[in-house]
Structures are given as structure tokens and as C-alpha cells.
């Protein structure tokens, strides 16, 4: 592989890794605090894409403002979902917690997909790009919309890390994710923290959908493949680990892009792209079953 082709794949891999990281971070945050796997995460990502499309393309809002609207809208949607559908688990109203969480989030995913299908139809939409044009570094050409979207994504991730590390609310999220009962007896409102975590996780998924919408188009089933990658990433990085999710996403992005050059025929190589992540996951799980940053847990 020439150095140019290699650099191109590295840049593409890192950019796509940022989008993966946004989606995976949200999933990881929700799992960390509420201990449930959100099977509707891909549909929250899709909703983010649609909110962005409506505000940027139909209402003519500046693209960055439309991304922020998507974040806020999905934050509110996430809080409402937690309050209505997930909270019963913690009120002792659900007997089989794991099964309930799978069924309810899976059902929500189907509902949201079909809701968008009935409102917008099955056709793809291409919303306004965040930035038009391309950036040239020597012979290397990077499309501007992807780079700008990744830039906004990095800022949002930085913001999340700051909130988690330094703010009172972020520390509450970390405390509840370590031990819900202990957090409760020191006065942390676990219910509100759960809503906050689901809201933040949904906002990140929405941001990813909004940022990627102009690049990969917006349609009701757009979340299906990316969310599988988000699952791969959170398992790869270690369930509930924030640095694990970011690193896992960048590794997956790079691995997928660099591995395509293994097959000389580009069309065939791209067709296998989604499979590489799963191969990587299998290899990591053989040697490190708890993921890169996960803790070993023995289930009793």
C-alpha cells in the first residue's frame, strides 16, 4: 500500500471512529448507570438524523445549531423513555429485569422505526452538510463535511468527559454506575441520575445521527448497522467503560478501513467491511474476555 493510500485510510478510519465513539459512549453510559442494554440505541441515532434533517434542511437552521437541537431533543426523549419505560425496573414492578429490558427496548426500536417510516416514508434524505468543500493536505484529500462533523463530534465528546469528570451531576452518574445502593445512602438521587444518564446517552446517539446524516443519508433503518458496531465497541472496550468506548471506537474505525486494502478488488473489499469488526471482537474476546478496559466479573 502506498503511503498516500495508507494515510487516507487512517484519516477515514479516525473520522468514522469519532462517530462510532459518540454512539458507543451513549450505549456505555446507559449500561453503566442502569445496567441494561438499550436495543433502541440505533433508533435514537436515527431520530437524531431526522431531527437534524427537519431543522437544517426544512427549517433552514444553521447546521451546527441543528446538531445542537438534535442533541437537546434526544436528551429530552431519552429522559422521557427512562421515566416511562425503564424506571419501573427500579420500582420493583418488574420481576424478570433482564428480559423486560430487552423486550421493552427492542419493542421501542420497532415502534420508532415504523413511526418514522409512516411520517417520512422509506426514501433516503440528504440533509445540509455541516461544511461544504474539501480539504487538501498535499496530495491527501479529505472531504470537508466529514472532517467538520468529526470536529463537532470531538467537541461534544470533550464536553461529556468534562461533565462526567468535574461536575456534580457527572460525579453522581459515576457514583451510581459504581453502586446504586451506596449512592442512594449517601443522598444521591439514583432515579434522577438514571434519567440524566439515559438523556445524555440518547443525546450522544442523536448527535452521531445528526453528524453522520449528511454523509451516509437519513432513513428509518439507518441505525441498524451502526448500533451493531456500537455493541461491538462497548464489548471491545469493556462494558460501562468510557475510555474503553472511545478507544474501542477508534480501533474499530481504523481496523475496518485499513483491512479493506487486504483485498485488492475495492468493491469486494468494501462489502466485507462490516465483518472485520466482528472478527476483531472475536479475537479480543478470546484473549481478553472482559474487553480492553473492563473488569473481570464472576456471575454468581
Amino acid at each position: 500500500m502506498s503511503l498516500l493510500a495508507f494515510s487516507e485510510q487512517v484519516i477515514n478510519g479516525l473520522i468514522i471512529g469519532v462517530f462510532y465513539a459518540l454512539a458507543a459512549l451513549g450505549l456505555s453510559l446507559i449500561f453503566g448507570v442502569l445496567k441494561i442494554v438499550n436495543f433502541a440505541h440505533g433508533e435514537l441515532y436515527m431520530l437524531g438524523g431526522f431531527v437534524y434533517y427537519v431543522f437544517a434542511s426544512l427549517f433552514g437552521l444553521p447546521p451546527v445549531a441543528a446538531v445542537l437541537v438534535a442533541c437537546v431533543a434526544l436528551f429530552l426523549v431519552g429522559m422521557a423513555i427512562e421515566h416511562l419505560l425503564i424506571d419501573p425496573i427500579y420500582r420493583g414492578k418488574v420481576e424478570r429485569v433482564d428480559e423486560y429490558a430487552i423486550m421493552i427496548t427492542f419493542g421501542l426500536a420497532i415502534l420508532l422505526q415504523n413511526l418514522m417510516l409512516s411520517i417520512f416514508g422509506p426514501w433516503t434524505k440528504r440533509p445540509e452538510a455541516i461544511f461544504r468543500g474539501r480539504i487538501e493536505i498535499g496530495e491527501l484529500i479529505v472531504s470537508g463535511d466529514r472532517l467538520a462533523a468529526a470536529g463537532v463530534g470531538i467537541v461534544l465528546m470533550g464536553l461529556l468527559l468534562y461533565v462526567l469528570r468535574y461536575t456534580w451531576a457527572g460525579k453522581a452518574v459515576r457514583a451510581v454506575s459504581q453502586d446504586r445502593e451506596t449512592a442512594a445512602i449517601v443522598g444521591v438521587n439514583a432515579k434522577l441520575t438514571g434519567m440524566l444518564a439515559f438523556g445524555l446517552g440518547s443525546a450522544l446517539a442523536g448527535a452521531a445521527g445528526a453528524l453522520i446524516g449528511p454523509v451516509f443519508l437519513v432513513y428509518p433503518t439507518m441505525g441498524v448497522i451502526p448500533v451493531i458496531k456500537a455493541y461491538v465497541i462497548v464489548v471491545l472496550g469493556g462494558l460501562g467503560s468510557v475510555p474503553g468506548a472511545i478507544l474501542g471506537a477508534l480501533i474499530l474505525g481504523l481496523f475496518e478501513n485499513l483491512a479493506t486494502v487486504l483485498i485488492p478488488d475495492t468493491t469486494r473489499a468494501l462489502a466485507y467491511k462490516d465483518a472485520y469488526g466482528l472478527v476483531l471482537l472475536i479475537v479480543v474476546l478470546i484473549f481478553r474476555p472482559q474487553g480492553l478496559f473492563g473488569e473481570k466479573v464472576r456471575r454468581s
Binding site: 457514583a175 445502593e181 442512594a184 445512602i185 449517601v186 438521587n189 439514583a190
Partner: protein
């Protein structure tokens, strides 16, 4: 004096098992009451009701004159009821000092430096000062129990519920725990202490309540409870109790 915490006819059931059977109990502000009883007598269930983890099916629980049934554990912690757990619960991935600085223990508006100083002073008092920066996962069982004590002190509660604090603790640490409990009590904090360590119970408490099968079978000064036939029977069985009395 008026009672700080009152329970009246509290019933808690788990399926067919009645864990608490019409428990009527009260503690006055500044009292130190021991709660004893054989395994499975309902002691921990009672603490779980008082701290908001369980909601009783019947009966009332009031703290400082207001009903607390149905209130969240976090709300009760804020209202002044702190507790420890039989199986120590600490944030293992945080440092020892950070365990005392989690939200709830520190007000969101509190100055971080002042909170950290308070935390350090508490750790020094519990002989954990030199371990402040260590991950809490590295603490021994006894030290982890002391860290729970430190957490209680950060909350500055009015009522402390201690569930088996001396289980598996080295005698030196146990003495420190005794002193700390006496110190809290001397400052006016009321305490309910569950322990199988009868030496500690009789040493610390001026009143003891005994439970068996979810019912209060004795309530009074240590000497009276120690020789109460119902208590002897609960602990020793009928024949031995007759022989002992």
C-alpha cells in the same frame, strides 16, 4: 423527651414469609439502642425499612414527627438518617478520599477544597489519613468498615443505623469504632446498632431491643434483656434457657 423515630405496627412480608410482624419501636434523640436477635429475626429488614429500601405493607414509620414511608433512601439520607451495611458497601474504584467527596456527601455548591479538607480531617481521625490516595479496593475489611464510618460522618446525620459494624474486624480497629460510636452519641446523634458481638452491645448500649421471627420479644436496659427468659430461649433454646435461668 419526644421520640425522634417511631414505628407503629410495622409489617413487612416477602411472599409467604413475614419478616417484620407488627414491630412497634421508638428511639429518642441522643439514645444508643442495641438491636439483637438470632439470624433471620428481621434486624436488617427493620433497618432497610427505616432507611427507605423497603416499604412496609402495614404500619407507620415517622422521623421527627413526619411519616417517612415511601420516601427514597437518598431523601432520607439528606433528611439525616445515615446507615452502614452488613456487607460493606464502598465505591471500590474511587480513592479512599474520593469516597467521602461523592455528591450527596458534598453539597453541589460546596467549595471543593473545604470539602476535601473536611474529608481529610475525618480520615485522620479514623487512622485512614495515610491511605487517602489509595484505591478503596485496596482497604482491608476492617478499614473498609471504618471508611463507611467516615462517610457517615461526612453526612453529619441525626440518626445512624449500623448493621454489624464489628463483623471480622481486628480488635484494635474495633476499639477505634467503639470510641467513634461513643463520640457520635456524646454529640447527640442517636444510634441503632445491630450486632452479634454481645460484648460490644452490652458495652455501648443503654437500651436493648430483641427481635425474634420479626417480633419484638424484649425491650429494656441491658441487664433486664440479658436475663429475659424469652431472649434466653430465642438464643439458647428451651431446655438450655431453663437451665440458665
Amino acid at each position: 423527651m419526644t421520640a425522634q423515630l417511631v414505628t407503629d405496627g410495622v409489617v413487612k412480608r416477602f411472599g409467604g414469609l413475614t419478616a417484620l410482624d407488627h414491630v412497634t419501636f421508638e428511639i429518642e434523640a441522643g439514645e444508643l439502642v442495641g438491636l439483637i436477635g438470632p439470624n433471620g429475626s428481621g434486624k436488617t429488614t427493620f433497618l432497610n425499612v427505616l432507611s427507605g429500601f423497603y416499604r412496609p405493607e402495614q404500619g407507620s414509620v415517622s422521623f421527627e414527627g413526619r411519616s417517612i414511608v415511601g420516601r427514597e433512601p437518598s431523601a432520607l439520607a439528606t433528611a439525616g438518617i445515615a446507615r452502614s451495611f452488613q456487607v460493606t458497601k464502598i465505591f471500590r474504584r474511587l480513592s479512599v478520599l474520593e469516597n467521602l467527596l461523592v455528591p450527596g456527601l458534598t453539597d453541589w455548591s460546596a467549595a471543593p477544597r473545604a470539602a476535601a479538607e473536611k474529608g481529610r480531617a475525618i480520615l485522620d481521625g479514623l487512622d485512614l489519613g495515610r491511605l487517602a490516595g489509595e484505591p478503596a479496593a485496596n482497604l482491608s475489611g476492617g478499614q473498609a468498615k471504618l471508611l463507611e464510618f467516615g462517610r457517615i460522618m461526612m453526612l453529619a446525620p441525626k440518626l445512624v443505623l449500623l448493621d454489624e459494624p464489628f463483623g471480622g474486624v481486628h480488635p484494635t480497629l474495633k476499639r477505634l469504632m467503639h470510641d467513634t460510636i461513643r463520640d457520635w452519641n456524646a454529640r447527640g446523634t442517636s444510634i441503632i446498632l445491630i450486632s452479634h458481638d454481645m460484648g460490644s452491645i452490652f458495652d455501648l448500649c443503654r437500651r436493648i431491643v430483641a427481635l425474634q421471627n420479626g417480633r419484638v420479644i424484649a425491650n429494656g436496659p441491658p441487664e433486664a434483656v440479658r436475663s429475659d427468659p424469652a431472649v434466653l430461649q430465642a438464643y439458647l433454646g428451651t431446655r438450655s434457657a431453663r437451665a440458665a435461668s
